[in-house]
Subunit: 346 residues, 2 copies
């Protein structure tokens, strides 16, 4: 079964409702910008690269019926849509990159007619999607040397098909390894509070016939100590100029454990995830989400005393010195530094 996470179909955004997995594969057809905003906020669509596509498609969705008659008014309208989409989630760089890609269309097509601009924006959104698909394949290709036969890989959250359009970053690396005939095993951290690991990563790896075992996040150290993990690979939500990397909460935890156990720790992400305007991890905005995600198990069963305080950051920052390499669609950056990143990103 070919799964496409998000696409433009019949004048709507068609996307997998990821909150329904692993129970059912259900699609949403979104034709209102407000519904897209909610889908992003509620993690029905998530994963940095998929959010880039969602943002670009959302830009078109937001202006396709715009009544603006001239370039100036149309630009104003698009700016409003940009700000609105940008207010959904703060951390994932690709969301803003998707917005920027579309805004740039207006910069290089000054004073074109509104119908032309609308057409160009839809084309740009399609290019964003095509570019994501190509990036995933390139990341997997560059990572090919790093993955060996019989590797056992630990990952967290979901940096797979469901986080991109159709192949994945960290998990794309594993899909390619399988295509190359390498035998690999994967341990998936369940990824509290919203369990993207057990719900999404375990689901898609199983679909693709990859040997996967789910663990609770706090079991990673034990697996490493038992010698059962020889590589850690995760995706990224935003990478600062010096290589400090924001990714799902728990990633930094794994990076420290990897260092202690001398296990290579890799980030797999397209160059669109880099934010060269942010100098280091300290400058990356980290989304804090509601207490109910932690207090209640997927909003159903209350598991903590009523009103108990909760700290619920959605992401953490892994300092660049804990990262063995960042695998990008332009090549592998070993022991990432400001200089090496600048060189690769050109």
């Amino acid at each position: 079964m070919k799964i496409i996470t998000i696409e433009w179909r019949n004048n709507k955004i068609k996307l997998i409702d990821q909150t329904k997995l692993p129970h059912k594969l259900e699609y949403l057809y979104i034709d209102k910008l407000e519904d897209l905003w909610q889908a992003i906020k509620q993690l029905k669509v998530r994963g940095a690269p998929a959010l880039g596509a969602a943002a670009a498609l959302g830009m078109y969705l937001g202006i396709k019926d715009a009544k603006a008659k001239d370039f100036k008014l149309f630009t104003k309208e698009l700016e409003r849509v940009s700000r609105y989409i940008g207010s959904s989630r703060p951390t994932a760089r690709n969301l803003f990159w998707g917005i920027e890609r579309v805004r740039r269309v207006l910069k290089v097509n000054k004073n074109k007619s509104v119908p032309t601009l609308k057409r160009l924006i839809l084309e740009e959104a399609h290019k964003v999607i095509a570019s994501d698909m190509a990036s995933c394949r390139k990341i997997a290709q560059y990572a090919s040397n790093l993955i060996k036969d019989n590797d056992t890989v630990l990952t967290i959250c979901n940096a797979g098909i469901l986080a991109t359009i159709d192949y994945g970053t960290a998990l794309g690396v594993l899909y390619r390894a399988k295509e190359e005939g390498k035998r690999i095993k994967v341990f998936a951290c369940e990824t509290r509070p919203l369990l993207q690991g057990s719900r999404l990563t375990a689901w898609e790896l199983k679909q693709r016939g990859i040997d996967v075992t789910v663990i609770c996040d706090n079991m990673a150290a034990t697996l490493m100590r038992q010698g059962k993990i020889n590589k850690v690979i995760t995706g990224a939500d935003r990478i600062a100029a010096n290589g400090d990397t924001a990714n799902k909460i728990g990633t930094f935890n794994l990076a420290v454990l990897s260092k202690y156990h001398n296990i290579p720790f890799y980030i797999a992400a397209p160059v669109s995830t880099f934010d060269l305007n942010t100098q280091s991890g300290a400058g990356i905005p980290v989304e804090e989400r509601g207490a109910r995600e932690v207090r209640e198990l997927l909003f159903k069963k209350i598991v903590a005393p009523k009103g108990i305080k909760v700290f619920n950051p959605a992401f953490d920052i892994t300092p660049h010195n804990l990262i063995s390499a960042i695998i990008t669609d332009k090549g592998v950056i070993r022991q990432p530094s400001r200089k090496k990143i600048k060189k690769i990103l050109g």
Copy 2:
């Protein structure tokens, strides 16, 4: 409200059903050994010291109606009960210590009459309980110098009232700090898969008016990096002769993170948790529990694909070199080693 986790009452074992917390404080009255075995297995009663008491009371429960007429037959009966209770959970040292304490009664009272032996066994079970209560107070007393005003302490699982009879080991240290007028804040790791942190620790700290915030286990590294934690204290299920410590899964994780962030990492446990016959952590049996605990959120909502593989160790081993000190009821063992442990345990 005075809470007693487990006691002998009206010829029955009265204990808090901890699987019902934090929703309701409900007691079980157990008069069949099989029901006690199930209560231990299902974690209705848990925590190493409380399991010591449960085992000792269970020994009495198991033989109080024994028909054996002489010492030999009675001994045989008690041995059967010992093996049965010992088969409930393998890791907690105190469970076996509770059993041993009662078995010893027969060794030092050879050929006494069966009614006398029964009476002596009940007395011994009461002594086990009294000893646990005294141990908790002594641990807290020895730890008093280690806890400062304005400390923010991270803990995992539950090493409090609910893990002992009425005061706790790691949490007892915090209750004493509060009694001494020190202002402390606590972060409680929720402790997947069974959430003893958010269900039990948050509940009892809140009851006692201690400032507590719940986090998912994978958020600990971020808190440490933000400088929000200046001490980590946990309980223990079994401590080997060299200081290697088995405790709830996730403890070793915190120990590595503490080392990396230069934060003192303390274990609080009575000497009854030490197992000098086990040379190091490698010799400690670690219970592996069922997949449903991970696949389903408290057995209600399925959150992983059907039949997905799960790795679910209930405990992990923290090597002694990551432990800043073990706080016991006989004194504080800093940088624990075989020699220092032997000296304290006498």
